[in-house]
């Protein structure tokens, strides 16, 4: 049983570190983990879940705004991008945030093709993060079910 726990913990550590190394997460995610404790063991998962709901809503807004036959209201697109940039920054979703920065620039430049590309990328990126985090949370569950504790991962 201990061997299994140790193995899972090592897997978890490696996986978490890789998410930072690949730029999916940044230190704000680490900050969120500080806010989680035994009394609020699911805080991070809950916040991220809200974030992903936000992604769906805002990306929907952007898609609708970009889908106008006739003139596109880039400021409307930009407003949603600004919101997504904010919430991705608050949860440590580094890649999503980075894309939003670029996206915002295309909005300001009224660059339709650039915006459409960014929209597609942002959609792919948030879903990729969602999958990765789901795998990470599943590993946490497995560790707990195997009788172990989720290790605190030192990112450096």
């Amino acid at each position: 049983m201990d061997a299994l726990v140790a193995q899972l913990q090592m897997q978890y550590r490696n996986y978490t570190v890789s998410l930072y190394q690949q730029g999916f997460l940044d230190d704000q995610f680490t900050e969120l983990k500080k806010l989680q404790d035994d009394a609020s063991p699911d805080f991070v998962a809950e916040v991220l879940s809200l974030f992903f709901e936000d992604c769906v809503k805002l990306i929907g807004n952007m898609a609708r705004a970009l889908d106008q036959t006739g003139t596109v209201d880039f400021s409307q697109v930009g407003a949603s991008v600004h919101q997504l940039k904010g919430s991705s920054s608050s949860v440590g979703a580094k890649r999503v945030k980075g894309l939003c920065v670029t996206f915002k620039e295309y909005c300001e430049a009224n660059n339709y093709e650039g915006c459409v590309r960014c929209l597609q990328q942002v959609d792919i990126e948030y879903k990729a993060l969602q999958t990765k985090l789901q795998d990470m949370f599943n590993l946490e569950k497995q560790i707990i079910q195997a009788g172990g504790k989720v290790p605190q991962v030192d990112i450096n």
Partner: protein, 265 residues
């Protein structure tokens, strides 16, 4: 979870002992520390609420400047002398909000006789010197750069505690400050919804030992970037230099500086 964008409010007062990295602060009487948080983003509201609660504050989180004014009883013209005045020790607000910006909210608060002495902290994702100066000139106590971290909030709490202790002292004699103070929060008015706690509020909260103060042992990583990592952030525009000479008033310099202003007299 407050998903409706309304008001989320703690009902219970919790006595929390905050122990971070071996340092312990004395338990606060939480009936005394109440923060009003204003942010149009739900994600940010949940995070700031958690940050504040973990640092021993009671929190009311609203989604707009209008709701904030409504909560404070400042949304109508007539003098609210008869109103049972809420005790709010700190107001922390996002800058960029639709409708009323944080700056506009700040002005309204500073114009009100009841709440002008309440410290107001502005949060923004954009590090713009002119914006920061404007807020500080208008009377903002501090300016936090988003994303807000635990160390930022703990810094706020350190000067808040000092202010609260002074106002507690005043309460026992005649209040010397112009703000009539309640010793306990009134029950939340009916239009507001109460959010279910994200945490189980009955056991005292303990902070896991890995969390720390401004110099965390788990140093926030910044792993070398992958090819897909972010391009230059727009926050680099108008970046503040951290040296005091960048501002005419050294004590009111850039975001994340040490809190300089004096406590309430």
């Amino acid at each position: 979870m407050a998903r409706d964008g309304g008001v989320s409010c703690l009902r219970s007062s919790e006595t929390m002992r905050v122990g971070i990295g071996g340092m312990e602060s004395p338990p606060l009487d939480l009936d005394e520390v109440h923060v009003l948080a204003v942010d149009d983003s739900l994600v940010d509201r949940i995070v700031i609420e958690r940050l504040l609660r973990i640092t021993s504050c009671k929190v009311t989180a609203v989604d707009s400047g209008w709701r904030a004014l409504e909560f404070l009883g400042l949304d109508n013209e007539k003098a609210s002398a008869e109103l049972d005045r809420l005790k709010v020790d700190l107001i922390i607000t996002d800058y960029c909000m639709p409708g009323m910006t944080g700056y506009e909210l700040l002005k309204k608060i500073k114009e009100s006789s009841s709440f002008r002495q309440v410290p107001v902290v502005i949060m923004s994702s954009e590090n713009v010197l002119t914006r920061i100066d404007r807020c500080l000139e208008e009377g903002a106590e501090d300016f936090l750069l988003k994303p807000v971290k635990l160390a930022d909030v703990k810094r706020l709490r350190s000067y808040l505690t000092r202010d609260v202790k002074l106002s507690n002292a005043n309460k026992r004699k005649l209040p010397e400050d112009s703000v009539p103070v309640n010793t306990s929060l009134p029950p939340p008015p009916s239009p507001f919804t109460i959010s279910p706690d994200l945490s189980d509020s009955s056991p005292p909260l303990t902070i896991s030992p890995e969390s720390s103060d401004s110099s965390p042992p788990l140093s926030p990583l910044e792993i070398s970037s992958s090819p897909l990592s972010s391009p230059i952030d727009d926050e680099d525009d108008d970046v503040l230099t951290s040296s005091p000479e960048s501002s005419s008033a050294p004590e009111e310099s850039p975001a994340r500086r040490q809190k300089m202003t004096s406590p309430l007299d």
